[in-house]
Symmetry: C2
Subunit: 356 residues, 2 copies
């Protein structure tokens, strides 16, 4: 049929499986194993059902104000969207509007090339070194923009802030986006947020889906200088005036304000991560030093794909990417200590039975 | 600063004001004056706070299934998004991917040209006749796609289904989108949904924000043949895997299943609309025969802009568009009978005081 000629045809991103059932161990989409903050529960109970008939604030006012105050910036420096995917997608559309290629690492969040394709943005991937580290010098040739996740996904590795600053500083003519979906697990001094006041070409993007245990609400945000945020808002208002619904605005604000609980769960996840590293090492896995809420591991003797499929039969979901350079790795979300134990036991059993 | 050269600069859509305060009469954004269905309230109370840590179903499965069953189509024929704005925006991006111009009426939803601009889609507006009716023959020359709201906004007028079919039938090489945001207020036989099975180039788009009193949740959807919906989903999965959050999926499904309440509130609004028509006529307003939840009125003696500004001072918000051909009209949302009385009284007082 001839209308097909006008259809935008794309190869979409494939999200991790979302299996149902209560008895599975879900370590495949980097969700938080703990519930959201108690303040979120309280607000959910208090939420007015009647107000749902009204549009939400188009500028996500209360949430943006809470975030601005949390980060010590002006509210005009914060942009909120439907998960960081929405925010990044909007940033691609807004800022990567050039005929020069956008740069990002070859091993990274696999959504980047998909966004580039759907918006017809040229791009060029820059190879990470053999240890999956960024080669910062690769990012200082002419480009139409740069996006780097830090910590990187799926490797989990954190790039030192001076390398990030090197890239931002040496690209005054491009917008540099640092995707900090996992930065809360990376310790003090990891975030590029303090650089915002010095570089007007820097945009930092965060999410509520990982460290804030609110993947189900879809909240992401960007912080940058006021002019960047204004351009982003102009594009947003050209696509959908009201993106974040009332529950997201209310519960998101409640989450931000409950900082003690946030720090507690974050610390628990970091502690389980370090424990899991030891256990996986003992089983013969090797991996970089993850600063995120997942571990990206490979094994000399056992094929990642086979482990992945075996674990699935056992009801344990981890993530496997059939992509160049990483097709013998598993990305394992750090769950609770209990979930880590179940995983380690299943791996141990698998290896004993498989032999080698 | 030179990175600005790469920024996509747009003139965004301006949404209606969202004034705060409890004592205002808000008749400016076509929200429903009644609360959502009791089933929504029940589900909000039952919603699991703990599950918010998990991503929602990327395919909006339960909501899509409820909608498919409601409309008697397959679930593969339904696409859900963050309000009909998100769905229409995605449809522009997916289907209007041609160098030929997209057609829509000159007086219509003012977001259409904004979407065309942000996605760099050429377009051509087709003039409505002097009574704001569609000239169907104008839509059968070569084009890159067509979008028509029915009932139209801000006129509120319903185009007979045979005119819609004429346009769909005579454009086999284009996707024709019928935006039915207000069709629930238009009576039996108004919707183009029954044509879906006969025309594979027809996409019908609906929203939960008006007749379902759920503007605060942001839910919209499209119904069409399976191939259209697949193309739409491919683009959606290339932008954001998880658009609708858990509250929207759960409460949206509950709303669809509470059909009695839906019909009751819809009928109440229709009844208030007919009453308000009589009252406005008595005050000397003229308007087309609205089949939506708003009335698009003008007055021979009083300037719309002045009435608009006066009403605002009184705490009554209606919508005024400073646009060609309609800059002497007001779009007045049909609220409750009580709100209609307050409005009519305020208008009456204004006219008496202004004299003329």
């Amino acid at each position: 049929m001839s209308w097909e000629a006008n259809v935008r045809k794309v190869v979409p991103y494939t999200p991790g499986e979302q299996p149902g059932g209560k008895h599975i161990v879900k370590l495949n989409t980097n969700e938080c194993p703990y519930p959201p903050a108690p303040a979120v529960e309280k607000m959910l109970k208090e939420e007015s059902y009647e107000d749902l008939r009204l549009y939400p604030a188009p500028d996500a006012g209360n949430l943006v104000e809470a975030l601005a105050s949390y980060h010590g910036v002006k509210k005009e420096q914060v942009f909120a969207g439907v998960g960081s995917d929405d925010v990044i997608s909007m940033a691609f559309l807004t800022f990567f509007n050039s005929s020069k290629p956008v740069f990002f690492p070859d091993v990274t969040y696999s959504f980047y090339p998909v966004w580039a394709d759907v918006y017809k943005i040229p791009y060029e991937t820059k190879m990470l070194d053999k240890d999956f580290r960024l080669v910062k010098e690769d990012y200082v040739t002419e480009n139409g923009g740069i996006i780097i996740p830090n910590p990187n996904a799926p490797t989990g590795l954190l790039e030192p802030l001076e390398n990030i600053e090197y890239i931002v500083k040496n690209n005054p003519e491009s917008i540099v986006i640092i995707d900090e979906a996992y930065v809360d697990f990376a310790g003090e001094g990891a975030s590029a947020l303090p650089l915002i006041s010095r570089y007007d070409n820097l945009l930092v993007i965060r999410t509520f889906s990982k460290s804030r245990a609110l993947a189900g609400l879809r909240i992401g945000y960007a912080v940058g200088n006021e002019r960047l945020i204004k351009f982003l808002n102009d594009v947003k208002y050209s696509i959908n005036s009201y993106t974040l619904g009332r529950p997201s605005l209310l519960l998101g604000e409640a989450s931000i304000k409950d900082d003690d609980y946030f720090k507690q769960t974050r610390d628990k996840i970091i502690s389980t991560r370090e424990r899991l590293k030891k256990d996986l090492s003992a089983l013969g896995f090797t991996f970089g030093d993850s600063k995120s809420n997942f571990i990206f591991a490979t094994h000399e003797k056992y094929r990642a794909k086979e482990i992945f499929e075996h674990l699935k039969i056992e009801g344990i979901y981890v993530r496997y990417f059939n992509s160049p350079r990483i097709d013998d790795h598993l990305r394992i979300t750090v769950g609770t200590d209990e979930e880590a134990d179940i995983l380690v036991k299943a791996l141990d059993k698998y290896m004993k039975e498989a032999g080698v």
